[in-house]
Each structure stands twice: as structure tokens, then as C-alpha cells.
């Protein structure tokens, strides 16, 4: 395990992945970053696809769509959808908590008190549940809707 040295706590990109024994939210942040970069990559491909191939007319568009209906592309599309669901809901949770909504009244720090992370934890659990449900809904549609 990487030990933090005193006065030398800048860990660079390595600290994005592992910065010590942190709780669940710290790893949700890592996943937020990874999904964000993945969606950016998809966005660039998507913009290229919907501009370069669309302006060339119907035949090129239909050939491209036939290629993109390949099962492997569909799996990739599902992963992008799942990443979007995660990034959106985690982002909404972060906005709510950054602006201090729905965290209850502030309480004096008299023992035994709840720390901020524990107050926020129910929202994290609820968010993960909603993400799981939406991911299953999309999975259902990708299977039933056909490849």
C-alpha cells in the first residue's frame, strides 16, 4: 500500500486511482471520471458519424447504420448508455450535495453525532438503486428491442 509522506501529499494521476483507504464515494468519483472520459470519446466518434456520413446521403447513411447494428457495436452502445446513466445520476447527486440540498438541518458536533458522509450515505444508496433499475430497463430494451 502506498503510504502518504508528510508535506508531500501530491500524488499525481496515481492519486486518482488510489489515495488511501477511502469510502465508497471516493471510488464513485473515480468511476465518474472514467465514465466522463469514455463518454467524451464516444461523443467525438458520434459527432463524426452523424456529420461525415449523414451529409453524403441515404446510401452511405444506411450502410453505416447496417454496420452499427452489429452485435458488438450494440454491446458498446449499451455500455455507453450505462455510463451515461451513471454519470447523470451521480452528477445530480453531487450537485444536490454540493449546494447543500436535502441534507437535513445542521446539528452541533456533540458526541455521538453523524458525520457528513453518513448523512449523505442514504442518497448514495438510493442513487445506486436507481442506476441499477435504469440499467436493467435499458438492458431489457436492448434485448427485447432486438439487436
Amino acid at each position: 500500500m502506498k503510504q502518504m509522506q508528510p508535506r508531500q501529499n501530491y500524488m499525481g494521476p496515481g492519486g486518482w486511482v488510489w489515495a488511501g483507504k477511502y469510502k465508497l464515494e471516493r471510488y464513485l468519483y473515480l468511476l465518474h471520471r472514467i465514465t466522463g472520459l469514455g463518454i467524451l470519446l464516444f461523443l467525438i466518434l458520434h459527432l463524426c458519424m452523424t456529420t461525415i456520413f449523414r451529409i453524403q446521403g441515404q446510401d452511405v447513411w444506411e450502410a453505416t447504420m447496417a454496420l452499427l447494428h452489429n452485435p458488438w457495436f450494440k454491446i458498446g452502445e449499451y455500455l455507453v448508455c450505462a455510463a451515461l446513466i451513471y454519470h447523470a445520476l451521480n452528477g445530480l447527486r453531487l450537485i444536490l450535495q454540493e449546494l447543500g440540498f436535502a441534507l437535513g438541518r445542521p446539528t452541533p458536533p456533540v458526541y455521538p453525532y453523524k458525520d457528513a458522509l453518513r448523512k449523505k450515505r442514504p442518497w448514495t444508496i438510493a442513487m445506486i438503486a436507481v442506476i441499477a433499475i435504469l440499467a436493467l430497463v435499458f438492458f431489457y430494451d436492448f434485448i427485447v428491442g432486438g439487436w
Binding site: 471520471r33 472520459l37 461523443l43
Partner: protein, 120 residues
Amino acid sequence: MRNTYLRLMQLVTGILIAVLLGIHIVIMHLDAILGFFEVDVTEPTSWESMIGRASQAIWVGLYIALLAVVLYHALNGLRGIILELTPSARTERIVTWVIIAFGIIAFIGSSYVPLALLIS
């Protein structure tokens, strides 16, 4: 102060994207579930369906608005990640201007095609 407002815009565009991109992916992907609610989406990726949307000003406007907020959100997020590496002030300026230039080129290139299809 400048970065504070960029960060605040990140939150605002995030909420806008949640709405606009929600519409986009529900229509593009959830055809079986929309069919259950008797909303008929016949193969949204076919040429006819795509041209049908591309010839309505409301869809073109919605998509160009989505493009603008998504590009801001994505590129500002990427800039934040790069600047977390604490580069020198000079590198920071270069990163900022490269990202602004990329965003403008991507916005012009990608909004030109739907506008050209709408006019033709």
C-alpha cells in the same frame, strides 16, 4: 473568480444535459418501452425517420442546443482533469486555447450539417 463561474456553468449545463440527453436517449433506445406506452417510434436510426426529424426546426434547435451544452460540459470537464496535473501557467494557457479551438471547430462542424439538411 473566472474558474468559479466556469465551475458553476458546469453544474447548470449538467442539469440541462440530464433533460436534453434524457429525451435523446429515450427516443433513440427505448423503442420497446415507448411502444408499451403507445408512443410509436419506428426505427429512429433509419434514413426516413432521421430526415423526418432533421426537417423540423424544433428538433434541429433542440439538437444544436444539446450540442452546445454537451461540448461545454465535456471540454470543461476534460480541462479540469488536465489542470489537476498542475501544469505551468504557460501550459495551462495552451491547454485552454487548444480546448476552446477544438470546441469551436466541433460546434461549427456539427451544427453545419443539420442546418444544411434543414435548409435543403
